[in-house]
Symmetry: C2
Subunit: 352 residues, 2 copies
């Protein structure tokens, strides 16, 4: 239990992986005593509600939802045109027509999603890519919803606490998928980050990044975290809707096979290094920001997925793919907790 | 105790910080039940012997020594001339004369140091920057000396084991000072690295990088390490001979203040980002390799130290400077072990 306010038995949160989390994964995790999370970052308000209701049909336990806080961005048609140019050879290779669109809108259903979360009374709501306004935090809390922020540095964790949120996910450099940075981009190892954050704030810290098994959970608790958030570990479970090629890539990867890239979405994210990342790397710093670049690569990722061509898909993964396993989410959670208990026991038997 | 062969009571090794470790630090650490280590990387054979004897005068306990394995490098006079050119404005600022030397030798007393270690029967000998030849490993082991290698990836850890060494220091991306990489340069967070290494080798794993207190030690043990190696934590102790400005810089630094640079020595190392690193960054990939660049910047670092100008000194530090403290090495070790015991106890009281 994270603290008395948290509606879960086990110190495990399934990371809200937007795009690869299914309602059955969320429900399976919550049913196993951990916290399942909906990754609603890419959904509109209607899809968000449908997803929540899909989870509710499969569990009566608490679960969470994660929203992307939209940023103000400038639309630069020249940047978009350039990016389309860089992407053209890859489109051709996949058999996609030329993309001439240059006035993409950066629309987000964020405000409507908040309304859906309130109406559906989702027990936990977390935020990434920035902080929700104070009035939103207050409104959610007033409705009994636990509010969680995401931070990658001590400064960001303090900001999350100051905004009135109930807990903070602290993301180490090991983490797969998008960086949650919103003040500055820094890459701090989780082992360093957790205790330095814990010493500066009083809200519960949830550790994220490279944690895959009971050893990682026990270590995070020793460092002062109250719970962990695991993404990659759940991505390869049976209930995850990640593409089979994505699962396979993680199951076969080594710890040195991931890197951080902006080329898929315009925002830094860690994934298994593939051809798309290598081919686009020279242009990485001349691409439009998120969510524009994400829109520009959407068709490519979709087509690659249809063709099971993992070299052009985004293969998000943390730095511990060697620890990944293929099993049910329930079994994974059971195994992890068994290992945590075993480690706890052996720790007390140490004679120093 | 790491395992039955290791001559220490506590699972703590003081990192062999070449240049900042004093005989009294090594002895103080060993006297406290941990393992003190001489950082002999920059010493010649005579200095190495004197250092070892200095330690022996202050302790009867086991201690270790670390040697840099020399690499074959090509001497490129043009690279050296260019580097001297880049460094010239900084030399001027510090009041140093122009450096015209372009035929620096990359001499190392490595082979003679091995002889000294054998003659002086130093209980533990560790290696960085590469692997000692198999005949050296055998000779040391035959003389009852424990041999430890350094690795930054699973592949390197396996290589260390295959070379016949007794244990491996696994260095996370958080670590301060020089990277121990010798096959490829990768930056894996310690939380990810430890369990992935532990699963692939059978010799004891010693965790290094960002560990500063009992929380870090307990976490490393949970992840499967048998001991930790701590550098930055000991650098700020009273017995450390680090420059007062270096200690002060660490004591005041935040987790986001360090970065990895090649500009001081020609080899990647993590330290507190300062003016020297910023000014030399544009030339980072056009500098001569270690130990040439190290020789070229030696006078600058020495003069800067004399002037207490921390902006031109190498301020090696891991990613956890917020956890640094100024106290005796003995007190630090005592506090850490007390915290480890407290955490172990609280772990068993968790009810999951």
């Amino acid at each position: 239990m994270i603290d008395t306010h948290f509606p879960i038995e086990l110190p495990i949160i399934q990371a809200p992986m937007a795009g690869v989390t299914s309602p059955s994964l969320v429900a399976a995790v919550s049913n196993a005593g951990a916290l399942g999370s909906i990754g609603a970052g890419y959904l509109n308000a209607l899809q968000t509600r449908a997803f929540i209701q899909g989870v509710k049909q499969q569990t009566t336990k608490a679960f969470g939802i994660n929203l992307f806080v939209p940023e103000e961005i400038e639309l630069d048609p020249q940047l978009i045109e350039n990016a389309n140019g860089y992407l053209q050879p890859i489109r051709e290779e996949l058999g996609l027509p030329e993309n001439k669109v240059s006035n993409i809108t950066a629309h987000s259903d964020y405000e409507q999603q908040i309304q859906v979360v309130l109406e559906e009374k989702v027990p936990v709501c977390s935020f990434t890519f920035g902080m929700p306004r104070k009035d939103i935090v207050l409104e959610l809390k007033k409705n009994g919803i636990l509010v969680i922020g995401t931070a990658t540095t001590v400064e960001e964790a303090i900001a999350v606490q100051d905004q009135g949120m109930d807990a903070v996910v602290v993301q180490g450099m090991e983490a797969g998928g998008h960086r949650g940075s919103f003040l500055h981009e820094h890459y701090i190892g989780l082992m360093s980050l957790i205790p330095q954050v814990v010493d500066e704030i009083h809200i519960p810290v949830i550790a994220a990044g490279g944690i895959m098994d009971g050893r990682g959970v026990a270590a995070a608790l020793c460092l002062g975290a109250k719970a962990v958030q695991m993404g990659t570990a759940f991505l390869t479970t049976e209930e995850s809707s990640a593409h089979p090629q994505h699962k396979l890539a993680i199951l076969q990867a080594k710890e040195v096979d991931t890197s951080v890239t902006k080329v898929f979405s315009g925002k830094s994210a860690r994934g298994i290094t593939n051809q798309f990342m290598r081919e686009m790397k020279p242009y990485e710093h001349n691409l439009p920001p998120y969510p524009i670049q994400n829109s520009l690569t959407k068709e490519i990722r979709k087509k690659a997925a249809e063709q099971s061509s993992s070299q052009y898909m985004s293969l998000w993964s943390g730095q511990s793919p060697r620890l990944s396993k293929s099993m049910s989410a329930q079994q994974l959670i059971k195994d992890i907790m068994e290992e945590v208990r075993k480690i706890s026991k052996s720790m007390t038997n140490q004679t120093f």
